[in-house]
Symmetry: C2
Subunit: 248 residues, 2 copies
């Protein structure tokens, strides 16, 4: 029988918590991506193996919903599995668990496989004769009880900040790293917001790559009493990513 | 016999490498501090135990010297030990090792123990009846073959950047986190610098704490052909930290 679900253990490190003593959302995102990378690597679908064949995984969407954010020194287990494959995309889910098996929360992500030469998405069913379908789990066994990815509509967003991008923002591909966007987006909020409220849901959709030296401009719109949408544009032009932050 | 040296294993994660595929200096710094925290925790000198008694460790200086920076996916072992204790300070060293035991490089650090109420340094010899001295290693067994911490002299430093500090910059104590300074300092250099050269020595001295919302101004001075000194001031006043970056 094929093992379809992996467990990735982490410990919440001192420099990975915010001033309230809770894990930074960006660092949690980083752990989720590592768990995902590990899971696919062990099944022959890792970036290393794919790169040799000129393919790579690209993260398209990520949403995280939490009852509680892990605290400094806590031991956390991330379970991850592939929920479904729809030709050009896979849906990968995550459970973020305490040692006793109860959940801090869950996450959903959508990934595309792109051809490094054409930069176009590939048909996942045709790659390796549809091998990836062997790893799709039965829904009944692994529930991800959070809402799927929503849609963004920016109408009256206000330009709130412009930043430059530097060496530390960039990943091995020379792109602004997906996690850094999360940091920069949460940096739009003042200290008081994090003192009085916590983020119970965070959603992000990645649209285009930005590069070191690009300018990022942040547009912000109130989507509900405790819900803020942020759109990030590069060089005040193309949309790079869009995010929704729900406080409670 | 008391075990005086600890080994802290890490794996170089994908989001922790720069565009050349090598570990970010700041992330390496973070791993070193975790290794240090672990080492002292296991000996009853951890921040948790100390906090209950109103003491905490404060990092005063860190210098790292590397023959090579670890690459993505590499397995790295950090060995750490206390070299000496001089009443108000401890000298803690690190070896950054490959699986075969050869060294990527070494690091030195200086720590003070402060009283959280008075914010003054404590006499380490009097705490717990000088227990800390039991952990000082014999020099012969653990060599740290890199130069000690140097002195900084800023004469004709040029103001090169001012940044604001936000939520992501701050640690659990509400201070700008020591690792973030390293990131912001290295962000002063253009892409070409990292394409053509590597950092073989990095040195930082922490002077005063800065807080979320403080403005950080960076002053830069050429200290040699491939050696740059950076001084960081908060709100264009107090010196927060000073760093030396040696390229090769």
């Amino acid at each position: 029988m094929i093992e379809k679900v992996d467990t990735y253990p982490i410990r919440v490190e001192p420099f990975h918590v915010d001033f309230t003593g809770r894990l930074f959302m960006g660092v949690l995102g980083n752990h989720l991506l590592n768990a995902a990378g590990n899971h696919s690597q062990r099944r022959g679908w890792g970036i290393g193996a794919l790169n040799e064949q000129h393919y790579t995984w690209v993260l398209s969407r990520l949403c995280i919903e939490l009852e509680e954010m892990p605290r400094q020194h806590e031991q956390v287990e991330i379970r991850t599995w592939v929920e479904s494959v729809i030709r050009l995309f896979t849906n990968r889910n995550f459970a973020i668990l305490r040692p006793d098996g109860t959940a801090y929360g869950y996450a959903r992500s959508i990934w595309a496989m792109i051809d490094l030469q054409t930069r176009k998405p590939c048909d996942l069913f045709s790659l390796y004769d549809g091998d990836i379908l062997r790893y799709v789990v039965d829904e009944a066994d692994n529930v991800c009880p959070i809402a799927g990815h929503g849609r963004f509509r920016f109408r009256d967003a206000e330009k709130v900040r412009t930043i430059h991008t530097y060496y530390s923002d960039v990943d091995i591909n020379g792109h602004i790293n997906s996690i850094k966007y999360i940091e920069h987006i949460l940096d739009l909020f003042p200290r008081e917001r994090f003192e009085q409220q916590r983020i119970w849901r965070f959603e992000i959709a990645y649209k285009t790559e930005a590069y070191m030296g690009d300018t990022l401009t942040f547009y912000r719109q109130q989507a509900g009493p405790d819900e803020v949408d942020v759109e990030v544009r590069k060089n005040d032009n193309d949309v790079v990513c869009q995010a929704k932050i729900c406080f409670k």
